[in-house]
């Protein structure tokens, strides 16, 4: 695919108009699966969360999980959708062993939620992304391909299937096609998935972790010449991070432009995104939509959420993340640029929780954007996984405010926190890092420094107060940095009568 040189991005967006669309799958964080009482916890031994229903054994009957239905309605409401007053599940038939039944229970032409939108901010502008539908289905099992190269299905001689994930409630959120974003298309795609993730997280219905696969994204991209019909779209799968969403759209735009420039045609196909190269390659040709032979699921009765139930769920929706962020920005007194750095660092919730635990917004922001962000970057982890909790950061700042730690000592204590040595107070005590505030000990250290530096002491006595800095340095050295420099200075001056 990389035999031809790709055109420059600026050149592509000057000549073509992109249309994007996103299909996002979210695994719900319910206790049990969609249609049976098997647990959904992540990472169990193979086939330990299965029962006759999710294994599709003859005679078993599915019953829908109320919590999953409510979670889906809440997602629909948060995305400004209409909630169907009556809808059905449908069987999607296909021949692939990731579902033991040979079909997946999904929704077809009667989704639970339709016609909504999500506003996202890109470069200070609000872009409204139309939501076509939000529907509920069941997740598939995991296949392990054996005998081929590096676990790929191509060349595999057999596959091993674990059905722990089969039947976990999966919500599919489909946008309308988004035209008119031009050069910003990749950023808009990323901003949409980010905002959607934040909305769903705020609802508390999923942990929405892309790296663990509880949020998965397929990206549709097409290009057309200005004023002409939309082009043929491709669907890129395997996009497993926010950064990849942006890269996948961009790389597909470049690839399609190079095909079109050469007089070629875009094939409507599924493509796979490769994290390492940032390219897409053609995927397995899939059975066309009509081949899924959808029909209403006979084992489940229709779903008819009544208006009172929907109204009750709507009344309990939390504040939307975009509005919540705006409110925090005001409370914290941050400029747009400062708020943007907080957002980019993924620190909004961390700072919020740190403030809730007693720190000032400024102090909370200082630790999360400073020391802890630096540390997260160095170790290549998300800020939330850096090893310190908001409560610990607030406790650390409390020790600073109480004068027990100075800035340098606090950073050492934080190092211990990140290393998992315990709470800030425990680490301060264990490592003996507390500021020396015992005046007896300090006075002794000051007297020692004066005795060791008679020349400097004489200068100070004769009024050259600026010379005290050298003695402060000496005291800080003997107290291993654990004294408060200002206190030391005052002590020196009073001892020398200056």
């Amino acid at each position: 695919m990389s035999t031809t040189t790709l055109p420059a991005y600026d050149d592509v967006v000057a000549r073509y108009e992109p249309v994007i669309g996103l299909e996002t799958h979210v695994e719900l964080g319910t206790n049990t699966k969609m249609f049976c009482g098997c647990p959904t916890d992540f990472g169990g031994e193979p086939n330990t969360r299965v029962c006759p229903v999710c294994l599709g054994l003859p005679g078993s009957l599915p019953v829908a999980n109320k919590a999953a239905i409510e979670a889906t309605i809440r997602i629909g409401l948060a995305l400004n959708c209409s909630i169907a007053s009556w809808c059905r599940f449908a069987r999607k038939n296909y021949f692939y062993p990731d579902m033991p039944k040979n079909f997946q229970i999904s929704q077809y032409d009667e989704p639970l939620c339709v016609d909504g939108y999500l506003d996202v901010e890109v470069g200070g502008e609000l872009v409204r992304i139309g939501i076509e539908r939000v529907h509920l289905e069941e997740d598939t099992g995991k296949t392990l391909h054996v005998g081929g190269a590096t676990g790929r299905i191509h060349g595999a001689t057999e596959s091993l299937v674990d059905y722990n994930r089969a039947g976990i409630p999966l919500v599919e959120i489909v946008t309308r096609p988004v035209p008119g974003t031009g050069a910003l298309a990749p950023e808009v795609a990323r901003a949409y998935v980010t905002e959607l993730r934040d909305v769903i997280r705020s609802l508390g219905v999923s942990d929405v972790r892309m790296e663990e696969g509880s949020l998965r994204c397929d990206v549709n991209t097409s290009l057309n010449l200005p004023g002409q019909e939309w082009g043929t779209r491709t669907e890129t799968k395997n996009v497993n991070s926010l950064r990849s969403v942006e890269r996948a759209v961009r790389s597909e735009m470049l690839r399609q432009a190079s095909v079109l420039d050469a007089g070629g045609r875009i094939t409507q196909e599924t493509r796979h995104f490769h994290e390492d190269t940032g390219d897409t390659t053609p995927g397995r040709s899939k059975e066309t939509a009509t081949d899924y032979r959808y029909f209403p699921e006979p084992d489940l009765v229709p779903l008819a959420p009544d208006a009172a139930w929907v109204a009750e769920l709507k009344a309990a929706l939390p504040e939307l993340p975009r509005l919540h962020r705006r409110r925090l920005q005001e409370q914290w007194g941050l400029s747009d640029a400062d708020m943007q750095s907080v957002l980019n660092a993924g620190a909004v919730e961390l700072i919020e929780a740190t403030v809730a635990a007693g720190a000032t917004p400024a102090a909370a922001r200082k630790w999360w954007l400073g020391e802890l962000s630096r540390r997260a970057n160095e170790t290549g982890v998300e800020l939330a996984d850096v090893g310190a909790t908001p409560v610990q950061v607030a406790e650390l700042q409390g020790l600073v405010d109480a004068g027990k730690l100075n800035d340098k000592l606090a950073r050492s204590v934080l190092e211990g926190v990140v290393a998992g040595e315990g709470s800030p107070t425990e680490i301060m005590t264990a490592r003996g890092l507390e500021v020396v505030s015992d005046t007896g000990a300090l006075t002794a250290a000051v007297d020692e420094a004066i005795a060791a530096n008679p020349d400097i002491a004489e200068k100070i006595r004769s009024g050259k107060v600026a010379a005290a800095g050298a003695l402060v340095g000496a005291v800080m050295k003997t107290t291993r940095g654990q004294a408060d420099a200002k206190t030391v200075r005052e002590l020196i001056l009073s001892r020398l009568g200056a």
Binding site: L55, F95, L160
Partner: protein, 111 residues
């Protein structure tokens, strides 16, 4: 096949090609003679079912369920399931506590 019932009973409800297509999707090895037989039999069945369409007036909505129930839901409470050994006991083959299935890709049909 629901769509076919809407076509009415005038023409063949299902063609030989459609039966071949469905057989291929279902991974059923059907011979040429069997295709003729099944196409004829299925057509007879579908024609018979399609008669319902002749009496169903516009004021009778299509029905997918025979019981007039909605919102049959369960609470989100874990119920013990099967042990891996029980789960795998009916499987033709297993390996590493997983269901072992034959290779997937060369089963792919050009559709």
């Amino acid at each position: 096949m629901q769509q076919d019932s809407q076509k009415g009973a005038l023409m063949a409800a299902i063609s030989r090609e459609e039966v071949a297509h469905l057989a291929r999707l279902s991974r059923l090895a059907v011979t040429e003679e069997e295709l003729d037989t099944f196409a004829g039999q299925l057509d007879t069945i579908l024609q018979a079912v399609a008669q319902v369409g002749e009496v169903a007036a516009a004021d009778i909505p299509p029905t997918s369920h025979s019981v007039p129930l909605t919102n049959v839901l369960r609470e989100d409470v874990v119920v013990p399931g099967l042990t891996p050994a029980e789960a795998l006991s009916g499987a033709p083959d297993a390996e590493e506590q997983r269901f072992r299935v034959p290779r997937i890709l060369d089963e792919d049909v050009a559709s």
